[in-house]
């Protein structure tokens, strides 16, 4: 009864109806505002500029990789090799820097590796028609263990001074990093909304067969989104690695879960065809602030993971309620239970 009541209340609530195309983003924004309100009362120090800057900087890698993952999920596929790709790219960036490559070469080399991994995933998915969860599961395990085998766990040390913060100062670097992330997000968002390249991604994810009949090369679309996801993960790895002076090869464990959680909490349908970059940005923001917020509110570290799981479930449930009525009206579950 409570469910029904809240569902009805949410549906009738002006923001949800008047902004119907953005109702997921709106709901998410409200959840973030609610959390912020609680923090403002209970722990105002959370909003110190320096703390917010730290938070933003810590979550930029997740955001950049999540933008790539959004593209993949929009086509109805999934990429769970993000964390392993992230680790491989970090180590490659570190190794290139130690052997004396200049900063642009390091960046290009790392991007090339990311693109190569993404392309292999994409080829297996698009041309051999192997389900993406299988391909990327295999890639996740193989890359992680391969990296461990080669590095034997040794950290990349003795990085040149030009590595940390790209050789810039600590004050200048955040501007650059935020600039990169904003540029990537904005450019991708614009491409998705306003160009043919963006529309074919939605078309492929909504109905691959219809897209194919409309002369869209769906195999090429799938291949490109995986390759792009690889490149974005490489950028994320660089942006993260340059904050430090050493590269540990076990970095990025569980990174894929953070990234996918950010995308799905951001309202993307795992079945493809629905989702937005704005949603992904908000999803990253919510998940990124929830951990530190719990610390500021004095929650015990032991219960933090349970609370975070609860937050994900709650965010997803709220979206589900705002959607359920539409879904029910629409021919009783054409998508429903499917991953």
């Amino acid at each position: 009864l409570l469910w029904r009541w809240s569902a009805v209340a949410l549906r009738r609530w002006p923001p949800c109806t008047s902004l119907s195309p953005y109702r997921v983003e709106t709901a998410l924004g409200l959840v973030i505002l609610a959390l912020a309100a609680v923090l403002a009362v209970a722990a105002p120090r959370f909003f110190e500029p320096a703390n917010l800057a730290d938070l933003v900087l810590a979550n930029l890698p997740v955001l950049i990789a999540a933008v790539g993952a959004t593209l993949v999920i929009l086509t109805g596929e999934i990429d769970i090799s993000v964390g392993s790709t992230f680790a491989v790219c970090s180590v490659v960036a570190g190794t290139l820097a130690t052997i004396g490559a200049p900063v642009p070469a390091v960046a290009l080399g790392t991007l090339a590796v990311g693109a190569a991994i993404g392309t292999v995933n994409g080829l297996l998915v698009a041309w051999l028609h192997i389900p993406s969860i299988v391909v990327t599961l295999a890639a996740m395990v193989a890359l992680r263990d391969g990296l461990r085998w080669i590095t034997e766990g040794a950290w990349v040390q003795n990085l040149p001074a030009s590595f940390q913060w790209f050789g810039l100062t600590q004050q200048l670097y955040p501007t650059i990093a935020v600039g990169i992330a904003v540029l990537i997000s904005a450019l991708t968002a614009w491409t998705m909304r306003s160009t043919r390249a963006g529309r074919v991604v939605f078309a492929t994810g909504s109905n691959a067969e219809a897209a194919r009949l409309a002369a869209i090369d769906t195999a090429a679309v799938r291949l490109s989104v995986f390759a792009l996801a690889g490149v974005f993960t490489a950028i994320a790895a660089i942006v993260n690695a340059v904050r430090f002076t050493q590269v540990p090869p076990n970095t990025g464990l569980g990174f894929e879960m953070k990234v996918i959680a950010a995308v799905v909490v951001g309202g993307a349908a795992i079945t493809g065809g629905r989702g937005s970059i704005a949603g992904t940005v908000l999803g990253t923001a919510l998940l990124g602030m929830s951990g530190p917020a719990l610390t500021f509110l004095g929650a015990s570290a032991y219960w933090e993971r349970a609370l975070q799981g609860g937050i994900i479930l709650a965010a997803v449930a709220i979206q589900a309620i705002t959607r359920t009525e539409r879904a029910v009206r629409r021919a009783a579950g054409t998508s429903g239970v499917a991953i």
């Binding site: 120090r45 391909v135 295999a138 050493q246 795992i270 933090e304 479930l313 239970v337 991953i339």
Partner: protein, 675 residues
Amino acid sequence: MSTARSRNSEAVLAAVLGVEIVVFSMVGEQFATIGNFFEISRLTVELGLLSLALTPIIVMGGIDLSVGSLMGLSAVMFGTALQDWRVSLPAAVAVAVSVGMTGGALNAAVIARFRVPPLIVTLGTMALFRGVAEGITEGARNFSGFPASFLAIGQGYFGGVVPAQLPILVVAAVAYALLLHRSVIGRAWYAIGLGEAGARYAGLPVARRVALAYLLAGAAAGLAAIIYAAHLGQARSDAGTGYELAAITAVVLGGASVTGGRGTIGGTMLGLAVVSVLTNGLQLAALPSELAGVLTGVVLVAAIALDPGTRRGRGRAATPELLEGETLVRNSQVAILCAAILAGAFLVAGTNVWMVRSLVSPAAGGSAQPASAGRRPVIAVMPKAKGDPYFVSCRLGAEEAARELGVDLIWDGPTGLDAARQNELVESWITRQVDAIAVSVENRAGISTVLRKARERGIKVLSWDADAEPDARDFFVNQATPEGIGRALIDEAAKLMNAEGDFAVVTGALSAANQNAWIAAIKPRLAANYPKMRLVTIRPSDDDRDKAFSETQTILRVHPGVKLVMAISAPAVPGAAEAVRQAGRRDVNVMGLSLPNMNKTYVHGGVVQKVILWNTTNLGYLTVLAAAKAADGTLAPGATSLAAGRLGAITVRGQEIVLGEPLVMDKGNIDQFDF
């Protein structure tokens, strides 16, 4: 139609399994024995139960990522029921299974009632269940000391060879096979997987059938948790970590289509066998266990690519493109086949490299002594986690000792902290009949049973770094006691803080046994000797440098009065140091337990004041040396001293070989150490 395809994929899989068995019979020692066959089956029971439960879910086109976490939660509730609530054993078992079913019911309700995609729901409940398990146990609590009659379920034998828990898996497999392939419910699952809307129009109660599969998965997770507890003799919140992905791998390898409508119980069992035989075979051939991951990935992709059923996009079968698709597939089949052959060649080549290396090493060692009867003694040493920099530095010393003594060294361990994998490796070493085993123990109660078994078979057993139960090993190579480390940490911290003010601790994982033992040693000494010092918070870093960095940033904001950060996991010290440095907080000291190399820049930069550790390279050296001497009889019970090569004479107290006092490294002496 789907049956024909399934048979096809099962044939491919059976061929892969055949190849594996042939290859490993040739390169692995003691691989093709009845005993080894049953040991493999013992280790796969928990995973097998989860894989069985996932099969109908995947057949429906769903997924359940939460089974591993649910197993952890059920194990913890089982321990709580048995030891805190003092209920009887059958009641505790009932509690565990009903906790599993409750978790399954939560998944079922959200998925079937609210139609949220299962991937998202179970992603959320995966974090939720694990989090609740950690919350209940405060991460640290480890339930052990179960009655022997209970442990027999997980460690005993029927008729001397058949593991006691194997019949449970067999019964479960038969039950699931009947349910999926011979019942109306099973037909409904296939129908839902092939087309949910169609199933609904055909009058099937879709929501109820979907819910049933998730409910059963919950029950299976509960059952797996009980067997896990009986097998390892412990129940901890990290039980079943990563099992969900291993189980999905087995199911998908078994020919189930993740888009639904395809998959069989027989296929899943075959998939499970392929993965387990691969892991076991690699261990017996003394190949690094990382290779298992790489090869599992290759086999997974190859088996699926070779199977004509999987590639078909859903709903595309009727289009004219199918013909074109099939020719494309032939080419790619050839490509994939080549890749698989390459991988096989790679494996054999790897073995050769390994054998050549083991032949070369005595020559390099110089002072090689031929062992008795011309066979070089084999010393198997296990770290807690292979990739960890701490153990990597131990390995250097271990290899040095192996070269000097002319023994073969097998260095293998879990890739992350994983008690179950440790048992598995010891079992495979027993089968392989090595001369001595040295283990850095992750879980005392759990591993002692297999270590005792190794001693019964005449293998010398040592523990190092972290101890097993005293009667399960011949010697313990002890670097320093938890009390000694805790004392050194808090005393050095007190010196830096003039014994007053607030400090924070950044630990490893919240459930890490070593770190928890150190914290337990720090707290009473803090209360007794340093009343003006206050420990304000303990934060986890999960042995991840980046997480330690963020956690320290947060600590500095939430507790601005903190004067010192004590990081007690190797990657956490540089992480905390970088956070303090970037915050520009010159008034905050950083110290802790870590390795010299990764901290040198911070120590010289004045961010890190003290790094406490024993000489890890020497620890590895001493371990292999003691193991070799125990194996050839030079080091017998009752010895009081051990001639330890370059380390000189080392004192032996009873069964303990003590390395020495912890090192305290600072600006003055850190450059003398290179590890």
